[in-house]
Subunit: 467 residues, 2 copies
């Protein structure tokens, strides 16, 4: 479209957004100074933002950074150097031992049906064991759920089990569709391993019908060593093809080969920086994301965007001469993807040091256009947070909902702390999540910057109104 | 992020969204049946949508479709055949003569500064004349506005004028930034041509700093033939480089060559289909987008998405057994980009036939995730439309604002008609707008489908509550 007059219509949007909010809410904490400060924060993020160039470095110069890898160590050094250059009051590394799983050689997979051979894209799931050196070959049993596999029990012995329950496209929020399927990835091998299956192949966790397998964490739980079977994700296109061919030929043979393994735990770090509070230096507001990523892409959306947005929160506060009353900490958590060791360690140390954490915010849902925040808080603060809606609605932040905040900050949970999750639009997230397609070019500069500004605005309000 | 519990948090979003709305609004037209119907519409769009595969055909099988081109004619036939297959009650072509501008050979441009040669990406603006056969070479004068050029007046004679005012990144809504710059593209050549400039080079209309020139319409207004000078868009990266080199060397020479020309007007068509109303067959609700596009990309976002969404509106009504009371028309408007002839013709014919158009909706802002609708209506319907917010907010539709609706439906404006524009998120739009990057792969299937469902829901409510 070309029409320049269209532009004028949008002038009205911001001014009219507040009309949406009940007047009684407006009464509470909203005031002109807050709305001016928040406008300044958004202006500076959009005109003088640094998050995009930082993400370029993290994604393109370092790339995928699986826990325990040399790239993860490079990311630790990158984060420490960046925060030092930014002159935060304190910058340090918090040691943490992390799981060290390696993928090994590129996986191979195919199936043969009526003398035709179909090569299919797969990738080992994080934590899986290798196949035997020359791979695994077997007949396939397709199932739609862990329950169905349990019921088949002994019938699974010697078979390759194919978990193929797809995302429910009807669900508006893609994380809900993910939550409805991911048990197959996390627990499939555990369920069928105990019945002597040869392997578990899991449909990739995405709405998109394409050729990219999506990896992710899995667990064998308490299985004995000899029950631990290799497990891999298969692309959705290949999953549909396999399912179709199985209907024609139930006895077709599937082959896959992977050489992944788990090495001894490796030393790593959470990277921490802070601006010391002017009034309550011993009360902490933490903002963060996770520094580790899967290895197939460069971890741009998961969770490079959360990392650079979290660092940008502190820079935008300084840039706008906002001296926080409380100590504002940014934490680049290590090992969210396959262990959560960084999040657990940070909470453990906070407890050991009797640190009073009053709030924490995590960004780990991608660097997409802002939609709102989820919060996990005690009821007494509910009205306070809801009273901020009129301040944030003009920036597209309408979803203020109770719910999960973030995996890394979850271990900080107690009776008093307020936990928040940044919630961007979710529609594109699972096109890229844990796949080779999660790359820097999928991130829009302005969407990333609007997210950083949204997070900074929430931290500003928390610092101003929370005690 | 991997955490499956996160998913659970989103369960709360939809149920809580309605809380946002003042109770007095809920009182009016909102009722359970509407909310059930709208849920059905969204479910069917997401689980059984056709818009994405239609867009694949329009974008990849036909491609860019400039008015008067063979591709535009193919698009007309494609639209007529598709609507015929969909068994709409009536499908027909409405003849309209359109401007026929052709780009000719690929443009060439470079500048030389201190014996260094810099090739730069440019593209002719729609409607521009060609350069002389061997191109144009001249010194450059950089300006930031039409006013600055006017003031320079005679100083522009024999020079190439470089309009380089960039988008204002601080503006939240990208259409507003576009509106603040596009006068340079539309009117630059007209202003400097009358002072004897050799050519006008205009900074591309985008936030993105990249190598892709963005074309678009321009006009010479009432200039005499000998005052009509060639004009082209230059990529933002090249514009920044040229500006930088001009500071070092104000007398550097810029060269460009283009062979575009305007042929005699060509015959073309608006493509129209309708579902006849059961109660008020002579009252019309029109939904549409524009079938023509620029030629550099495949016109996926501008406006292939609006085309397939508009057709999908009628299909989703039929699929959900919603028999409209009023006649619902879909119009694939021809020639929005460089003439608006289709929109004018449709309004003219509607008037000639004394058709009573009660409402019209246009989608021409890209196929991105839903944000809301703009409306251009008389005050008596304002409260009615605002009362629908609680029904649409659960689907991310929060922005209900007075303003411009759409270029193609604009000519239908009168005292009584209600005009609406579909408003998706605007952040990514100008990365692709009128450039070679406006291609099918930039469209997310679910975002496109959510837009079609949003439009269908509005049409359903208009049909139900408007008289």
């Amino acid at each position: 479209m070309r029409n320049i007059f269209l532009a004028l219509s949008f002038l009205i949007v911001i001014s009219s957004c507040n009309k949406v909010k009940p007047a009684k809410q407006l009464a509470q904490t909203v005031n002109k100074a807050d709305s001016i400060t928040i406008k300044k924060i958004f202006n500076s993020a959009l005109t003088n933002g640094k998050s995009y160039q930082w993400l370029d470095a993290l994604s393109n110069d370092i790339g995928g950074r699986l826990s325990g890898s040399p790239e993860a160590q490079k990311a630790v050094e990158w984060g420490e150097n960046l925060m030092t250059e930014l002159n935060f009051n304190k910058v340090w590394l918090q040691p943490v031992m992390v799981p060290h799983w390696v993928r090994g050689e590129k996986e191979e997979a195919f199936f043969t049906s009526s003398n035709e051979k179909f090569n299919v894209p797969i990738c080992a799931l994080g934590g899986s064991v290798a196949t035997q050196k020359d791979g695994v070959l077997g007949e396939v049993i397709e199932v739609q759920s862990l329950e169905e596999a349990e019921q088949l029990g002994e019938k699974l012995r010697g078979k390759i089990v194919f978990f193929n329950r797809p995302f429910d496209d009807a669900l508006l929020l893609t994380f809900k569709a993910y939550g409805g399927c991911v048990d197959q990835r996390g627990g499939g091998a555990k369920v069928v391993g105990k019945f002597g299956a040869l392997g578990a192949i899991v449909r990739s966790m995405t709405h998109s019908i394409d050729d990219f397998p999506h990896t992710g964490a899995m667990s064998y739980g308490d299985l004995e060593e000899n029950q631990k079977i290799p497990t891999a994700a298969i692309s959705t296109k290949a999953a549909n093809l396999l399912s179709e061919k199985l209907k024609e030929n139930p006895s077709l043979k599937f082959y896959f080969k992977q050489s992944c393994k788990t090495l001894p735990d490796a030393p790593s770090f959470n990277v921490i920086g802070e601006i010391t509070g002017s009034e309550f230096p011993d009360k902490y507001i933490t903002v963060g994301g996770h520094l580790d990523s899967w290895d197939l892409g460069d971890g741009a959306h998961d969770d490079g965007t959360g990392i650079v947005q979290s660092i940008e929160v502190l820079r935008l506060l300084k840039l706008n001469n906002i001296q926080p009353k409380h100590t504002i900490r940014v934490v680049l958590f290590m090992n969210e993807e396959n262990g959560l060791r960084g999040g657990k360690k940070y909470a453990e140390e906070a407890k050991n040091n009797n640190e009073n954490h009053i709030a924490a915010l995590e960004s780990d849902s991608g660097g997409f256009t802002p939609r709102g925040f989820s919060f996990d808080i005690n009821s007494e603060n509910y009205d306070l947070f809801m009273s901020w809606k009129p301040l944030l609605a003009p920036y597209g932040l309408h979803d203020f909902d109770k719910g999960h905040s973030g995996a890394d900050i979850g271990p900080l949970k107690n009776e008093t702390i307020s936990l928040f999750g940044y919630r961007p639009d979710s529609q594109r997230y699972f096109d890229y999540h844990h796949a080779s397609t999660d790359t820097f070019d999928k991130v829009n500069k302005r969407e990333l910057e609007l997210g950083a500004a949204s997070m900074t605005s929430l931290v500003y309000l928390l610092d101003n109104y929370l005690n």
